[in-house]
Symmetry: C2
Subunit: 136 residues, 2 copies
DNA sequence: CCTATAGTTGGATCGTTGTCAAACAATGAG
DNA sequence: CTCATTGTTTGACAACGATCCAACTATAGG
């Protein structure tokens, strides 16, 4: 069993963690790892609609940011979240992100209900008070 | 008083928030806003070593990601964090990030002590178990 | 009206990133 | 050894992003 190189806990940078998780594909991988504990590369990116080489780049991005560790067993590589390390370095951060990621994207259920009964495109409106036509 | 356009609370995307805060300059601006509550643009980016137009682009990035609101009063524009909105959308996320941002970057105090007494460059070592020369 | 202040916009540049495809490497199975 | 499986590397390319500079807009104050 081998571990691939990854940054020491103290070297994990907040901006790099945020950046790593700011990509939808990588965030999805992280979510799956959080649920499964450990996944091999093929499984982790399955049905994500990206080429395997693209996925491989994402694995590296996650690893170099300090978000995951990769260990090789036989011909498979397994990734897992560095939950403990991240919690030492940035207490509560990973949990907050994962919890946020499991929220409904876009409209809430109540907003959906309101939108269903009301006029269309009400949903796409922006929040602007006093002079909705304000220019930047 | 005018508010500049910004996304509705339900439209704030996690990946965009993470992306917005994954830039050191923008993260620093967010930290200052968290401390000061409200800052005008000049003050927010003061001593950050970026051109005022660069700063302006960052303001827009933060605003479009849903992290800040900007209101104009007279000839000044004031930014503030959308704490309440973000907490509705992603409970605990912003606090976790801001708390993480206030942690010491790089080595801990104890690691600094150890590094000061030991051989140099020990500090830059990576965590690799079993085969430190493992290739990716 | 003129000027100074505050901030935005647009162009140019330059590095980074996400993507795919094809070639490669390493491993386990037959 | 040969082959299929797993994943990485490399190259190419388009898109994006951070930055600076210059020009612009808008507002307040003489």
């Amino acid at each position: 069993m081998r571990l691939l190189p990854h940054p020491a806990t103290e070297d994990i940078e907040l901006t790099e963690v945020l950046r790593a998780l700011s990509d939808p594909v990588r965030l999805q991988i992280a979510i799956r790892l959080a649920l499964a504990g450990e996944l091999n590369c093929t499984t982790a990116a399955d049905d994500l609609g990206v080429h395997k080489s693209t996925a491989s780049h994402h694995y590296r991005a996650l690893r170099e940011a300090g978000v995951v560790v990769t260990k090789q067993e036989g011909r498979l590589k397994y990734m897992s979240l560095r939950r403990a390390d991240l919690d030492v370095r940035f207490p509560g951060l990973l949990d907050a992100i994962l919890r946020s990621a499991n929220r409904p994207s876009g409209r809430t259920a109540s907003a959906h209900r309101a939108a269903a009964g009301g006029p269309e495109e009400q949903v796409a409106r922006e929040q602007v008070t006093e002079r909705a036509d304000a220019r930047a």
